[in-house]
Symmetry: D2
Subunit: 338 residues, 4 copies
């Protein structure tokens, strides 16, 4: 960490700062220029509250050199983390697809989709039971009953299941859930992250709509610092001024994350774009960018005319897309440039 | 609600849609043009899931006419909601200031600040016990102990207290807290909002970093739909590309909110800007924009050299600022243009 | 175009509006509901100034159904526009790469890079002579001399050249330039766009940093409405809150643009990301997303230690990347899902 | 400028960098830590191309200490620049208002508005002759004829006039124009800025829709570096995700700019918000934030039903607003906190 002091810092304040820094077991190198004094802090600065230093009267600016995250940092853990999903490896060069409907609606729906996505090559089934909706008047999911149906589909298909938690109090219902998803709106629900850090199963952490990549990794760090190292990072679009898509998929987050962290990185093209017609191209692009996998919405809808055309793919389109995405992933990995 | 259908909609799908809409007790007016068919839905459309309709194959676009919020909508409740804080009215032309430190640090600190801000004209004391921090390694607040100290300061000063909740499970600790704050990161923690809707005390709801004004109001609606009508809205800066300030204070949200809702609207210039030196101008601007009040960070720091210069004002600056802000508020209200 | 009127519009104002709309040769269908009156405008509404209508006292909202662009609209011109670059087709299923240095620096530099990128499969040479720089104290390009050197490289390599214009007055220097580039900062320099609309050569139009896709197409429309139909659209990153990349590459713009317009769409991964190490993954992702090509920075730098490591690829990396990108493009086109 | 080198920089590359830096007359202080080497550059670094250094293989990060702007920097010119508008001072504690219609439409219109805004206290008349419009099919302004009418209004009212230039080639028409406006879309039209730097009259420079404050000041620097020191900075809203207002007015830019530069700072509440009903509150807020003035749209519209309700104020509302804004400005200046 580099601390730039203002011109002619008040001597007593400077001494206070130096004493405090040294009390944190940091070595402090002082370099005085004509106009500025620079402090170089050596040691474990990841736990230092940068804002506290920035806030000091005598400080012009603070610049981290070391990243503020440790457990998820590739520098301290060069090898890719590989997470097993139903016996299949995600990460470390293995591209996998999670698929299923946005919401669990009925037993027949979720079981049917489970069979369909398994047949097309998905390694896990997604399906929402607790649905975060911006309006209190919108459908909030089947909740407990949704979890029950999802577990029926797990049993019927043999696929592990991924579903979203919205509050710590729901945790007992997730006992047989294989992967717990934290939604974008809860990415900085720190109490929830800490609680999930005490679980013994993978956490699929979605990036917040307006969260920086660093904040995203800090949220993964919350989970890992509490003891759970199985975190799957999921980019799902960020909020920008563009309105042609629901959000703007930030695919450059893939190579940036792969450089900064050893955790697997997957893409959710369905929520990112909001339109089924954009999902195939963004799925293929995600594979080409070096992502470790996808989480895609797939819906069968014989009965429900109201679900046509959403951001969900039909099982038929998904059955064509899944192998193509894997082929693209294999091709770029062979290419050796990523 | 206006639904634009695609050219030549498939007849069976159209009939499905019409049947479903009518099953929701809506009148449907069909207007056929040469190129497009437009459906006008009349009735209570606020509880309709617009995305479901948007998702239909035959639908080109859906446009709400009625806002999707009801309880907080000024159209259905033209008079300003006034919320009492320690016997003082907030809203309805009454400008009030809440002040206090970012974090509760010690009994002497919080009691001293309480006396100082009261003397300067604040009607309530703020102070954080549970602190949402992006890093798990940063100070997370004094938590239970922080609440205890805050309540001591309440007793000592007579000021009602405002403090942030981070999870439903903390609710029992908030029994004697006068106003419960929901932080920006939890603005769409819908389970928490529902739980707070069952409380009998005012909720200070902060706008999320990248939440639209409509989403902000929908979150207020979650609280109100669960039974608690005392919601104070707080704009505290949105995330943009600009880096000279921590966030970008969206002051035009004040007149927009005052038009759309009857709830009181206050401004947090401290978190919005991130720098104490910008707080006075943004406080005065907020008053001039027609806000109903401010929530400002004020810190006394004899003991703690490390807290100098943060986004907190000194009690001295606050004592000069508070009356000026009230004067500006009074001046613009007299002017009669807002 | 759909115009929603406010409840109980003032009769005289309504008549004024109807008269004016009819004077524009539009058919107006009036549909009165209990609460709202809706006007449906039929005819060529692309030339109507929507803001003028929106501004009326009696108007609640205006919604376009027809897009506001015509010449570049795929609805009126379903077939892909194909633009020839040195005898090679860009667009219509043909993936092509333009490459070269950010700035023309010397004859040997530009000629050498030209030979290198040609050998690797590029169909055109890019190189900046006029450089838009945010600081007046930064290198502004070799200007006239840069154009001269670029044309030498064209002659030596046989590659057509692409270079940026910054002002109409520079146009005479661009006589032998094959493709004129309009930079992101000039995307809404409408006088320049009109002047380029009178040229008889392809225009490579870059999307502005904070321009919506619709604004981007409207700028293409400016060129086309002035007579030049050869416009190549280039997405090069938009401005967001994320700081790990220079800008955020909006790859979903590719399928959105391909749907809305018949013009070719290429990607500039170098400016979008700002880091050479991110260019390969974003190039491959662009190909997988269905882009028609790339414009990539490539720099040889034996002499200039200062240019190492920029957003430019080395000729060696480019020689590996170019065929891989084409392979990915071919693979996804065969897949038939885009 | 502080340059952080990567761990173990290649010796030859380091020597190249040091030689180059010294060739620019900079003193280089080298400070070696265990993990990182830091170079401190002392001298005039404002003309150094930071990106070139950042681009080097051996460089981890570059951090400016000195701002990259000089002529507009308050550090080198502590006193407020005051610009005369028709004999009235703008800046240096003097709050002034520029007002007039968006577009010049006719002689009677512009002359009438001129008289009205003068009577209400405006010191200059604004009116657009060349109008940047996102659609080529929208009204582009009266152009040459608009300038002629504006000059008639100048003569009739005695008010100096402000109008926008869109291209260097229009400059001869601006001979009698008192203040030349550069619109948001042209803020980084660097050739235009250089040309205006050779003029001998004030330039009103609008902030780009997605320009940072630093980029805004660099554009002012372009004008000043070319010889014209009379630049008025105008914040007019930035592009964000919020859609309730046309743009998001960034009022915190006022105190930030007042700290960084000595140039006068004014606010355009009309374009920022896009709705007349939001203009009064944002005008008063701008005054309270410490702005040096306003530029407000005012339109008389007896004849033109189509202009009702736009972002323009009526002369009557303006006549009430102008004195209130001045009163607020005076009040906060007396307060002494800004």
């Amino acid at each position: 960490m580099i601390v730039l002091l203002k011109r002619d810092p008040e001597e007593k304040q400077l001494q206070n700062l130096l004493d405090w820094l040294r009390s944190l077991s940091l070595d402090v190198h002082i370099s005085k220029g004509t106009n500025y004094t620079v402090l170089g802090l050596v040691g474990d600065t990841s736990t230092i509250d940068m804002e506290l230093i920035q806030a000091l009267d005598i400080v012009e600016n603070v610049k981290r050199i070391q990243e503020p995250f440790k457990s998820c940092n590739r520098k301290f853990h060069p090898d890719d983390t590989v997470i097993e999903l139903g016996g299949k490896p995600l990460g470390g060069g293995q591209f996998q697809i999670i698929a299923g409907p946005c919401s669990v609606e009925s037993e027949s729906q979720i079981v049917e989709v489970a069979h369909a996505v398994k047949a097309a090559g998905a390694v896990a089934l997604r399906g929402g039971a607790f649905k975060p909706r911006s309006s209190p008047y919108s459908f909030q999911g089947l909740r407990d009953e949704g979890i029950r149906l999802l577990l029926l589909a797990k049993k019927a298909s043999g696929l592990p299941v991924v579903t979203e938690i919205m509050d710590i109090s729901q945790l007992p219902l997730f006992e047989e859930v294989d992967v717990i998803q934290v939604g974008a709106r809860n990415m900085q629900n720190f109490e929830l992250l800490k609680a999930l850090g005490r679980e013994k199963k993978p956490i699929l952490l979605k990036r917040g709509l307006s969260s920086t990549i660093e904040e995203f990794l800090m949220s993964a760090e919350y989970i890992m610092a509490s003891g759970n190292e199985e975190v799957i990072l999921c980019e799902r679009g960020i909020r920008t001024f563009e309105t042609q898509t629901r959000n703007t998929l930030d695919l450059s987050a893939v190579p940036v994350l792969k450089k900064l962290t050893h955790l697997p990185v997957i893409i959710d093209p369905s929520h990112a774009t909001g339109y089924a017609e954009l999902v195939p191209s963004m799925s293929l692009a995600a594979a080409a960018a070096g992502a470790d996998g996808l989480i895609v919405e797939v819906h069968n809808n014989p009965a429900c005319a109201l679900c046509d055309g959403m951001q969900s793919l039909t099982p038929e389109t998904f059955a064509r897309l899944a192998p193509q995405a894997k082929q693209v992933s294999a091709l770029v990995r062979e290419g050796g440039l990523l």
